[in-house]
């Protein structure tokens, strides 16, 4: 089966690309990976135009539904590899324990986003979900009447404090820099929690301590006379790392910050390969559902232009894969 376009990823960028490409009457397959991407874990969005306050998960479900309505197909699975095959691509997908599948594509849009940045400390993995968490919107509300810390100074961290602070008895916000980078309205919302929230600036986590579960953290500098903070849980919200493995393997250029390099039409340096969303070097560090959706729309339009010119070449030069022989 050869698709006109295969989209890797189903966050705001991938689903928006699926919506636009479907309306261009392209035969589209979206390989879902982790549904909804970062947007689905973002809690309530107050700034997505036209929706009013909406839960990120619900927004992504609506985007998915729109993409399906225009004919884009969706499958679950992880893209293991993409290889050039003549003038098109061979996409290798596996869904859990199911057999590996191959799909042909005339064009590709990589919208596979980013993964949570980790502290990189000993015990971080061993204490995962035993006091160490990466999703405050998910697990924050479990810490009722507990003492927790959120690590980070951006929007996700500040919104996380506001949410988890409704349940915890005490929330520390540990910020590496000297100020918060969050939207002022989100900072104001957090401040409504009053004394329950303490912000520790200019400080990082040096060490995690615990056996069966997290017991305390060691800070890089003293706070109230001690470098130890006794905690029931920490929530790490220090940004993301772009997923660029597939882009790299296809020969796409990566910039010095680790992002896939695209031009303003979301085209990479590889013919037929487009990229958008959190993994690309567009809109700087401003990563939002709306910027991802915009990039997806542009990427789909560029893929369509490419398909119109080069689409036929794919079928002519397609080399049967091992499974097709």
């Amino acid at each position: 089966m050869v698709y006109d376009l295969i989209i890797v990823g189903s966050g705001a960028a991938g689903l928006s690309a699926g919506l636009y490409a479907g309306r261009y009457n392209m035969k589209v397959l979206i390989v879902r990976g982790e549904f909804g991407g970062e947007s689905a874990t973002g809690g309530v969005f107050w700034n997505y135009p036209g929706t009013g306050p909406i839960d990120g998960y619900e927004l992504m479900r609506k985007m998915e539904s729109q993409a399906k309505d225009v004919g884009s197909e969706l499958i679950d699975g992880k893209v293991l590899d993409i290889k050039r095959n003549g003038h098109c691509f061979d996409v290798v997908v596996q869904d859990g324990n199911k057999p590996i599948e191959h799909f042909g594509a005339r064009t590709i849009i990589l919208a596979n986003g980013a993964e949570r940045r980790k502290l990189g400390l000993p015990l971080e993995k061993e204490l995962l979900h035993k006091g160490v968490h990466y999703c405050v919107t998910c697990d924050g509300p479990v810490y009722v009447d507990k003492t927790i810390a959120v690590i980070g100074g951006g929007d996700a961290a500040v919104k996380g404090v506001s949410l988890a602070g409704q349940f915890a008895k005490k929330v520390y916000l540990i910020v590496r820099g000297t100020d918060l980078r969050a939207e002022p309205v989100n900072i104001e919302e957090m401040k409504k929690l009053g004394d329950k929230v303490e912000i520790i600036y200019g400080t990082e986590v040096k060490e995690l301590v615990g056996v069966e579960k997290l017991e305390k953290i060691i800070l890089t500098k003293t706070y109230n006379g001690s470098d130890e903070l006794l905690l029931d849980g920490i929530f790490i919200e220090i940004g993301t790392l772009p997923n660029v493995t597939i882009a790299k393997s296809l020969g796409s250029n990566i910039d010095d910050k680790g992002y896939v390099m695209v031009d303003n039409s979301m085209k990479t340096n590889v013919d037929g390969l487009f990229a958008c969303g959190d993994a690309v070097n567009f809109f700087g560090s401003f990563k939002q559902a709306i910027t991802a959706a915009a990039m997806g729309a542009v990427a789909a339009t560029s893929a369509y232009q490419d398909y119109k010119v080069h689409g036929e070449l794919c079928q002519i030069h397609w080399i049967p894969t091992e499974l097709e022989k």
Binding site: H129, C138, D139, V142, E212
Partner: protein, 77 residues
């Protein structure tokens, strides 16, 4: 039919994915919001010895996180 319990929180994407999956597969389940249900929260924390959600009980088998393969295996779907 298996008894399915989902221990979840209101904004958890993986909890919602699990519940949507059960609805899609027409599997009946009981949802416990551990952010407000103290008894369910204690049950979940005691049984799973961890504090990530969702925790899914299928009869007496525990699934931590939305592990679709394991859920399929336990429900034979």
């Amino acid at each position: 039919m298996a008894t399915v319990k989902v221990y979840s929180t209101p904004w958890c994407m993986y909890c919602k994915m699990a519940k949507d999956y059960f609805k899609e597969k027409k599997v009946e389940f009981v949802d416990f919001d551990v952010s407000v249900d103290e008894k369910a929260r204690k049950e979940m924390l005691d049984a799973s010895k961890q504090s990530g959600v969702p925790v899914i009980m299928i009869d007496n088998e525990m699934v931590i996180g939305f592990d679709k393969d394991r859920i399929n295996q336990l429900l034979k779907i």
